[in-house]
């Protein structure tokens, strides 16, 4: 799709997000002490908070450039249903910010002494969870389009909505790190969230875009 070709021309964005994630994750041990037990305990939470923030970072620009040069107006006027276009954009956002985090997750596991099963659990959880972050975030990005201080406002609006994903995303990693094997329920809930977000978020985002473009 269009957004991918466009996004590929700004490859540095991917690296920025990725390095942001790595830096945030690396800072925690320096602040909280490098004791193995503590690190293992906070690892899931840290990884998810860093993922939330990294995903927020690029959200602000999700529709901003299209808004500025008028292509967003044009997209709203095409005979394509808007939610398809929104899905395309969100998918591009996820490919560039969410997917890299999944692959970088083993590094977190290394830094925080996580057992192997926990690392693979974390990768799977991030794989399901990060698209939800992109989807929900898109609503906020559409609402704060073109506003002064939109980035800060965006985090104020969206971060509370991220809580459930973080609770279960981090919960499943903790559970797996402490040796629980029954993780099915966590993944069912996360997948449920994903389906819900896939259905509702593009509609809400499309409505928000219409409001903001006016």
């Amino acid at each position: 799709m269009r957004d991918l070709t466009l996004a590929m021309r700004r490859r540095t964005d991917v690296l920025t997000t990725l390095f942001f994630f790595i830096i945030v994750v690396s800072l925690f041990p320096l602040g909280a002490g490098t004791e193995k037990m503590i690190l293992m305990k906070i690892a899931p939470g840290v990884a998810w908070v860093a993922a939330l923030l990294a995903s927020m970072l690029a959200l602000e620009r999700l529709f901003a450039s299209d808004f500025a040069d008028g292509t967003l107006e044009q997209m709203l006027l095409t005979p394509q249903p808007i939610f398809i276009l929104v899905l395309g954009k969100v998918f591009a956002h996820w490919l560039l910010t969410g997917l890299p985090l999944v692959f970088i997750a083993p590094l977190v596991g290394l830094q925080y002494y996580l057992p192997d099963e926990a690392v693979s659990t974390m990768m799977l959880a991030l794989l399901i969870g990060t698209p939800i972050l992109s989807l929900v975030g898109a609503i906020g990005a559409a609402l704060t389009l073109g506003l002064r201080g939109g980035g800060i406002l965006l985090s104020l609006l969206i971060l509370p909505l991220y809580i459930p994903i973080m609770v279960y995303g981090a919960g499943v990693v903790s559970a797996s790190a402490t040796g629980t094997t029954d993780l099915q329920a966590y993944f069912s809930i996360l997948s449920g969230f994903l389906i819900l977000a896939l259905v509702l978020s593009p509609i809400a985002t499309a409505a928000a875009l219409r409001i903001s473009v006016e």
Partner: protein, 211 residues
């Protein structure tokens, strides 16, 4: 056929116009006049569906445009203050994307021809950020040549264009109207429009006249 009945629009706390009525038949041009801030752009955006009017209806062939949704946007091409082109992409890529999104079946060759006709020969595959304002405008206007939509809504299409390009655009508009198309446009420049049936609508007066 485009019909506007009892349209009322406001921006912020201010009411721009109320109870606006007019209709536009195939093969005619509507020239929206008025001073700055009288709601010309808003009216145009309301017609194409980007702006939600306070009240009133916009009918396309007798049907409400809001319920027609995609069936209506298919028939409309809008060109606003922004060119709606991506700086990072070339003129060629920009047009290819917009034609795909518009659902028009356009060949690569047609795009080259359209750009050539707009006087952009040799600039086709440069990123548009290296082009001048007028050249960017021409890329945007090239969309008109590739589009099969009936209704053109042009907000200040003549800005940033040189004399030759103004003439060219005029002939393009005239051509579209002679083929039974409709054009709604605003302009601050006094441009001699030669196209067939011309209607004028002046905004910002106490009563809206329909000539």
């Amino acid at each position: 056929m485009l019909e506007i009945t009892n349209l009322t629009c406001s921006r912020g706390d201010r009411q721009l116009f109320t109870g606006l009525n007019f209709s536009l038949k195939p093969g005619s041009l509507l020239y929206v006049e008025g001073r700055n801030g009288t709601g010309k752009s808003t009216l145009l955006r309301a017609i194409c569906g980007l702006f939600l009017a306070d009240s009133g209806d916009i009918l396309w062939d007798g049907k409400n445009t809001q319920s027609l949704a995609e069936d209506y946007t298919k028939e409309v091409v809008y060109l606003g203050h922004h060119n709606g082109i991506k700086d990072d992409l070339s003129g060629l890529e920009n047009l290819r994307i917009s034609t795909v999104l518009d659902g028009d079946d356009v060949t690569e060759e047609q795009i080259w021809n359209a750009l050539k006709k707009m006087g952009l020969k040799g600039f086709e595959d440069l990123p548009t950020k290296v082009l001048s304002q007028g050249q960017k405008r021409r890329v945007a206007l090239a969309r008109l040549l590739l589009n099969s939509s009936k209704l053109w809504i042009l907000d200040e299409p003549f800005t940033a264009l040189d004399v030759a390009a103004v003439d060219l655009l005029q002939s393009v508009i005239a051509d579209h109207i002679s083929k039974g198309g409709m054009v709604v446009l605003t302009t601050h420049q006094e441009v001699a429009l030669t196209a067939g049936q011309i209607q004028r609508l002046e905004l910002g007066k106490k009563k809206n006249k329909n000539v």
